[in-house]
């Protein structure tokens, strides 16, 4: 199966991270990261607290506070290191936030539709004038979009009450995470980064989120799963596992590596990499 995936890689989007050094408020957090994620692959990044996992996800998405000092991020060969977050999203990147922000007054449904339309039009859309014909077309497309969203909602086992609520406002931790996955499902990116989507979820919620991810992550989507615990890896099987320690990838391997980490702990990798150095 791995072979067939690789055979198609020419046609696929690839996220390449080359020697990435990132600092936040003058402090270097990432110290030379190299990664390559192809559509259809699931990569897990694991690491102890403070190793730079979230920094990596923010830097890939282009958060202005996370300054890239050295290195490059390429999507499908295009250097996106200097692009704004919206441009990156339009090229097919998506970040599921660890702590999603509340946007008052914008319902989840309207948000999804606005985002979907923005992505479709590469951010250039302008509101159409309210002629009756346009209005009728609009209403039709709202209807179609609604059924598209309903489909995803069912797939993820979310209650559709969520659509009328303001985005993330008053959501529980679990609801926020599910809402992130719903956005991912509706916006259908090429490469999805999940920043500790599993943290704060109870076991049932974790199962539904993981099932949803499995249903979504097909040959069309590459996934970078950032996690602190490996319990989510009981439900989502990564093709590759990377261990991030002190801003560097200390070890890479297949999904067995996660198992080994579970048994031996991060110190084992730390010691091993010190020996290697």
């Amino acid at each position: 199966m791995r072979v067939s995936l690789h055979a198609r890689c020419d046609l696929m989007k690839t996220l390449e991270i080359k020697d990435l050094h990132v600092s936040v408020e003058g402090k270097e957090i990432l110290k030379g990261i190299n990664l390559q994620i192809k559509q259809g692959e699931v990569h897990a990044i694991m690491g102890p607290n403070g190793s730079g996992k979230s920094t990596l996800s923010y830097a890939i998405m282009g958060h202005p506070k996370y300054v890239i000092m050295e290195g490059h991020i390429l999507l499908d060969g295009q250097d996106i290191t200097k692009l704004s977050p919206d441009k990156r999203a339009q090229l097919g990147l998506f970040l599921a936030f660890q702590y999603p922000h509340e946007i008052s007054g914008v319902s989840v449904f309207n948000f999804l539709r606005n985002a979907y339309t923005s992505l479709q039009a590469n951010g250039t859309r302008t509101p159409e004038a309210g002629t009756p014909e346009n209005r009728a077309k609009e209403l039709q497309s709202i209807k179609e979009f609604r059924s598209h969203v309903q489909e995803k909602i069912k797939l993820l086992g979310i209650s559709d009450d969520i659509l009328k609520r303001y985005l993330n406002e008053g959501f529980s931790g679990g609801e926020k995470k599910r809402c992130e996955i719903l956005q991912l499902a509706v916006l259908n990116p090429k490469i999805a980064i999940l920043d500790e989507t599993d943290s704060g979820l109870d076991i049932d919620a974790l199962k539904t989120v993981a099932q949803g991810m499995n249903a979504l992550a097909g040959p069309e989507m590459g996934v970078l799963l950032i996690t602190h615990y490996n319990r989510i890896l009981n439900y989502i099987k990564p093709h590759f596992v990377h261990v991030l320690i002190d801003g560097k990838i200390a070890k890479s391997g297949t999904s067995e590596l996660a198992q080994e980490l579970e048994e031996k702990g991060y110190d084992w990798v730390k010691n091993e990499s010190q020996v290697a150095a």
Partner: protein, 458 residues
């Protein structure tokens, strides 16, 4: 106070104005004029910082009737004449009231005619907004040249809304209107107001609403003046037992707007709600006050005011919850929140609280914030440009407020006007479709409105 000199308004003008008026009114006007000259415009230091009238042009003329042409883009206001309406264009007023309402004893007429009625004359002697109350009230009481008197007898419920539209197109003119609304026991009224201007002008308004036992009123309004209009609004309601009033207002236009609303919950179980949305741009200034005065038992009052300020616009939100000695069981809520969209925009919000009894619930909150970088990043990571992301946050900021407003027509208008303000478009371009941010709600409201028959979305 040097801040408000209206040099063209003098006692000569009062003579002119009151030539055909009863003697008592002439005296009343003269007395008011004296108070106008004496009273300060505003005592608060904050006013100077945030909403100062400094530099606001005040050389308006005292206007009598004028037939100034209505510009094309405002024709839609004057051409739409529902059967129950007030049309004020410059100095000219037209009143329409359906026969069936007249037969029920409803009175709608020009305030300048209504002053000949005993009920109005007596009311003027002991009114809600006497000239001593405020400089702007004294000004209005001295010089009012239009306005309406509405009387709804006991147990008369008016189903259709009364529409009050105003267009000012005469250069350097002033429209000084005074509205007196009296609702009898269990009477019901919906009033929808809109105001536009295309010329340098002054608009002054005093509105008083008296609600007898169990009366219910909903008042909705949008202020879409052109950029050279100065406006002063003083509104006050007096509520008897179990009566209620809801105000929903959107302030969008004008160079300088001073608005003060006070709800006096005199009767036990009376309730009031006030929703105000302010959207400032360029160098606009807004001074918005909303007070809740709880006098009777178990009264309930709620104020929610929100402001969005772009460019170098400025705003000041003030409000006071006063709970008097006998107002046991009162509940009061006062919230004033604003978003600033540029480093030159300024706003302050100062809610106050004065409680003279126990067993009450009172809450106030205030905030003035900028769009957060983290929120922006979150939205941009979904493909929104920075500008689009800001638009979502900003227009979404109004949504919870607009959602509470009871009149769908006003909701849709405020949404459309906010969108126009965001895009720096003229406030008269209402045919533009309202934003996608709200489309679900708008679709639902459109549906609902067809059934309610109130639909009037331009």
């Amino acid at each position: 106070m040097q801040e408000l000199v209206l040099q063209n308004f003098s006692s000569d003008k009062i003579g002119e104005l009151s030539r055909e008026e009863p003697m008592w009114l002439r005296k009343y006007r003269e007395h008011s004029f004296k108070l106008f000259q004496k009273l300060p415009l505003e005592k608060s230091e904050l006013f100077k910082n945030y909403a100062s009238a400094q530099g606001v042009q005040t050389d308006f003329d005292f206007t009598k009737e004028t037939d100034a042409k209505i510009p094309e883009e405002l024709r839609f206001v004057v051409e739409d004449k529902p059967e129950f309406c007030i049309h004020q264009t410059n100095g000219n007023a037209e009143f329409r009231i359906p026969q069936e309402l007249k037969e029920k004893g409803v009175i709608l007429e020009n305030i300048r005619e209504a002053v000949n009625r005993d009920i109005v004359r007596e009311y003027f002697q002991n009114r809600l907004l006497p000239s001593s109350e405020e400089k702007t009230v004294a000004f209005n009481n001295a010089f009012f040249n239009c306005g309406f008197f509405l009387y709804v007898p006991d147990n008369v419920e008016i189903g259709m809304p009364l529409r009050n539209s105003l267009v000012i197109s005469a250069e350097n003119s002033s429209v000084i209107s005074q509205n007196v609304i009296m609702l009898g026991v269990e009477a019901k009224l919906t009033l929808i107001e809109e105001s536009y201007s295309s010329a340098k002008s002054l608009f002054s308004n005093v509105t008083e609403a008296l609600l007898d036992k169990g009366a219910k009123a909903r008042v909705g309004g949008v202020q879409s003046f052109g950029r050279d209009t100065v406006s002063f609004l003083n509104r006050k309601a007096l509520l008897q037992n179990d009566s209620s009033i809801t105000w929903s207002t959107g302030f969008f236009g004008g160079s300088f707007t001073l608005s003060k609303l006070e709800n006096m919950m005199h009767g036990n179980g009376s309730s009031t709600q006030d929703f105000e949305a302010v959207f400032g741009s360029s160098s606009q200034r807004f001074d918005i006050t909303s007070n809740l005065t709880h006098i009777g038992k178990a009264t309930s009052g709620r104020v929610m005011a929100k402001g969005i300020f772009k460019d170098s616009s400025k705003g000041l939100f003030k409000g006071m919850i006063s709970i008097m000695e006998k107002a046991k069981g009162a509940s009061a809520y006062l919230a004033e929140h604003a978003i600033l969209l540029s480093k030159d925009a300024r706003c302050d919000a100062i809610p106050g609280l004065e409680i003279k009894t126990n067993d009450v619930k009172a809450t106030h909150s205030a905030s003035v914030a900028q769009v957060s970088e983290e929120q922006l990043f979150y939205l941009m990571s979904r493909g929104f440009t920075e500008n689009e992301a800001k638009r979502l946050i900003v227009l979404g900021f109004f949504e919870p407020l607009i959602r509470l407003m009871p009149l769908n027509e006003i909701k849709i208008r405020i949404k459309s006007l906010s969108e126009l303000k965001w895009h720096n478009k003229p406030l008269t371009q209402l045919s533009e479709t309202a934003s996608r941010i709200w489309e679900e709600e708008i679709v639902e409201e459109e549906k609902r409105d067809i059934f309610e028959g109130h639909y009037k979305y331009r």
